[in-house]
Amino acid sequence: MPMTALDIFKLLAKKNCGECGVPTCLAFAMMLANKQTELTKCPYVSPEAVQQLESSASPPMRTVTVGDLEIGGETELFRHEKKFFNQTAYAVVIEDNSDNESIAERAKKLDAMKYERIGIISGVDLIAIKSKGDAQRFSEVVTLVKENSGLPFVLMSDDPQVVEAGLKVVSKAKPLIYAGNVNNCAALAKLAWQYACPLALYSDDVDELVSLSEIAKSERADDVVLDLNLGAKPLRDALEWLTILRRLSVKKLFRPLGYPVMLNMDNGADVETQAIRATLGTLKYASLIIFGDLDAARLYPLTTLRTNIFTDPQALIQVNPGLYDIGKPDRNSPVIVTSNFSLTYFTVASDIEASKVPARLLVVDTEGLSVMTAFAADKFTPEIIAQALKEYKVAEKVDHRKLIIPGMIAMLKMKLEELTGWEVIVGVKDSSALPKYLRELASG
């Protein structure tokens, strides 16, 4: 539990001297509890107090950096309580016993498995290189993968010698070492410290995982990721343990398990089975998932779901209202109305692009609501559209006076014509029919 002002007050020097900038120790304690000041401002805190305060101030779950990705750092069980901070990272395995050509090809392919959707690029985040035991070969393959992909790495081997061979090639890229177990934990933790890389710890048993975490800490390997074999346990147990581990870190502040949790599914399961477990893991508390294999037909829905879950519930994702050019419109190009909800904007803009008909897209300020939602909430009224038409000086940019509105809000037509004097054309309901519609419109 985070310390209350009173808990903190008990640890202070109680001089009420004011040197910290506030008149009393109690006032200072209250500010500390609210994170409005820093402990160093009081010259009189004892070393024991410093230690206690710092450990209570450290976050419930550590944020671990792998390459340029941050994972973990979560503080909640439910996204509506605040938000989930770092989206689940997806890694896919490459084995070092394949031939060089197919390794290079697979590295390139995984690197390219990413999709742009509503302005966000999302896909495979890491490549996990798995050793069959030969250090020399591992180092070659790590080099080969590095040449063919820009993704960060997981180095998979139980053998400290093999791991070190890989680290020598890519330690600067901060790969995740996978994984320390009862036999090799101290040795791998030493390497993790020496090369300043994060370390995964593996055990099938939670108490053993705690001991591993303590060993890693004593070897100064601070950046730890936990694998309780939940990629292989029956689904029901996996979900229970994911929940238990999250509660232990964020509710109980149980330090030895205050780290991000991962699933390793490199166990021969088929792509669909892996994708299902990954879906549950993304919804419930996995910070990193290693796939044996993955295809686009599953990855695309999965990354979309991931984007949804890790969206900040307090912020509507929206684009700036305004008049946007799609293609190179001239003074006769159509003017198309839509809302400023990101999803709506990007959907409609890409459908217009697909039509190859240059157009102007009038993005109305609906406060980030979709067309139908905004309509239902009175945020997409004829007045608001007329106002946008004026504000973005559409009449100065085109010679015609025609406005295409979404089919869903056909009922606004009359009033909008009255208000603006423009001819209002009711478009299709679903913008995916826009390409055909616009082409027909353009050909008269």
Binding site: F78, R79, R236, T243, I244, I276, R298, L305
Partner: protein, 314 residues
């Protein structure tokens, strides 16, 4: 030894019977129990969990805009709602059917309430699974449709859908008159979900006859809003808010409103597999958020989701 943190909630989700067998005066071959859990989904280590029911959608008339991937999978029977419903239960193993009477809509085919009721009778006679009877969403017409369909289904303990804030009275009457349950539909809004339950119970619908539909949204189509609304409703119920303890139903057919789920695009992989996974992913999100019943479209989604539920129930 690590101490396992267990939650013990003071509230409990209501258990609602859906479908009546012959000893209860109906003709269903099974009765489903929705809800009844005392903790979050599938966390059997700390409380009682409940198995979510998996139903399938049947539409009285399939229009041109219905996804072809599903038409191709189900085949010709999709043209006949009775045969389609039978296939859902006999071939695909659906726990229940959600019959959507979309053609009763005055702005569409405007099929009469009488014809709709006779379709309901035929479906009930030929398909023995519990049945949801859903109107077209046109408030005035639905009032009449629900009245006649409710009568036609007397004694079967169907779920009548959907009672909304502005139109709950007629459907509540149609349900209570014949012992049916009501689907209380709100719009991704915890307060409205609660308000609606209060209004329905004050109007005389027994609490153990209400199932909430807080509106699921599919992946990429506002899912995050729906997910959190459902999760908040479930948590509020478990904490003890009596008016938020109805089991929840999620209509996953909305997953198909995202065209990217099945647009042909080689970069996004095979569109048939993608579409099924889009629906399955949306279903799993609804389950994790606390849904007690799902309405699905694609037979493969049903099979996969059932398998996952089996594994989660252990």
């Amino acid at each position: 030894m690590v101490a396992i943190p267990k939650e013990s909630w003071s509230g409990k989700i209501k258990e609602i019977a859906f479908g009546a067998t012959d000893d209860e005066g109906g003709t269903r071959d099974k009765k489903l129990l929705l809800g009844g859990e005392t903790t979050l989904p599938f966390l059997a280590f700390e409380g009682k969990v409940s198995r979510p029911a998996i139903g399938m959608e049947v539409i009285d008339h399939v229009g041109d805009d219905y996804p072809h991937i599903i038409i191709d999978e189900i085949g010709d029977v999709i043209k006949d709602p009775v045969a389609w419903a039978r296939a859902c239960v006999d071939v695909y193993g659906a726990d229940f059917i959600c019959l959507k009477l979309l053609s009763t809509n005055p702005e569409e085919a405007n099929v009469s309430a009488e014809d709709a009721a006779s379709l309901v009778s035929t479906v009930l006679a030929q398909v023995k699974a519990p049945l949801i009877i859903q109107g077209s969403g046109d408030y005035e017409k639905d009032a009449r449709v629900m009245e006649l369909c409710g009568d036609a289904a007397k004694g079967e303990r169907c779920l009548l859908a959907r009672a909304e804030q502005d139109s709950y009275k007629s459907i509540a009457v149609a349900a209570t008159a014949n012992g049916h349950d009501v689907v209380a539909f709100s719009n991704i809004d915890v307060n409205i979900a609660k308000q609606l339950n209060i209004m329905l119970t004050e109007f005389g619908v027994p609490v153990d006859h209400i199932v909430s539909d807080p509106l699921m949204a599919g992946i990429g189509f506002g899912m995050e809003y729906a997910y959190s609304a459902m999760e908040r409703i479930k948590l509020a119920g478990l904490v003890g808010d009596k008016m938020l303890q109805s089991p929840m139903i999620a209509d996953i057919s909305v997953a198909w409103s995202a065209k990217e789920a099945y647009r042909v695009d080689a970069k996004l992989g095979d569109e048939r597999e993608r579409a099924v996974f889009w629906e399955v992913g949306s279903a799993l999100a609804a389950l994790m958020a606390g849904a007690n019943a799902l309405i699905l479209r694609h037979p493969k989604s049903v099979a996969i989701t059932r398998q996952v539920v089996d594994e989660l129930m252990g």
